[in-house]
Amino acid sequence: MALRLTVQVQLVLQALLRDPASEMYGLELSEETGLQPGTAYPILLRLEDEGWVTSRWEDIDPRVEKRPARRYYHLTAGGAVQASAALAGARRPKGTALRRLAGGGGIA
């Protein structure tokens, strides 16, 4: 099934494309996009299904770090190309839509 480029999906892709080589974890993505984590999670899953994004658990000892491991996401090589192309062809979200999302973290 083709991925629908909703405003929220575009925000996630833009955040990941800012530095395609680096990885981002849920909270970082949520702060970057203004989306609630519960909203960003299904989007990341769909991007993974499409093969645009891969993820991995951080390899740490939670007792030493005193926090649970994070799940890191990053764009695949093909995903970065496809995401750039998709965003270039997508309609730009209106400023009001972005402000509403940043305030309420609407669901995709």
Binding site: Q36, G38, Y41, P68
Partner: protein
Amino acid sequence: MMPGIDPRWDARKRRRVRVRLGVLIFFFVFTASAALLSGTRLHAWQWIPWILGITAMAVFTAISMAASGYRPGGRRRGSGPSGRGRDNDGPAGAAPHQWHMLVMASLLMPRSAGRRWLAEAESLLSEVATARRGVTIRSYLLSAPRLVVMMWAREVLRRARLGPRRPG
């Protein structure tokens, strides 16, 4: 490596949650059907299925909540500094009943997907500012029903791709 999650994941508990949910759905459908079939003008005897259905739903909800340790406005069994179930209360600062709802939602998903969802939520909640934890959990809970459907659809497709399991 997926973070370790406590024994809440055992198969018996998953089955119990699904059976309870099934029974609740059955009584809901039963009550709704009784309402639809009987129309708006009800004779005295036509109220019986309504009353039975609603009572059964209330009883099952109460039993499910009691069995899972939920106490409205109170603490769950084994929680608190001296409790046995500190691990079940989720990240520090998260309301135990909200965390428990997250656990219940994760039990409705396919096993590996539910584990991953809960582990990610736990990881994120441990880092998010205390003031935002309630909102964050709510956002996870709001997206949970859609995720349950999405995850099961993925699981069905995955199993269809793999084909039937061979014995041995």
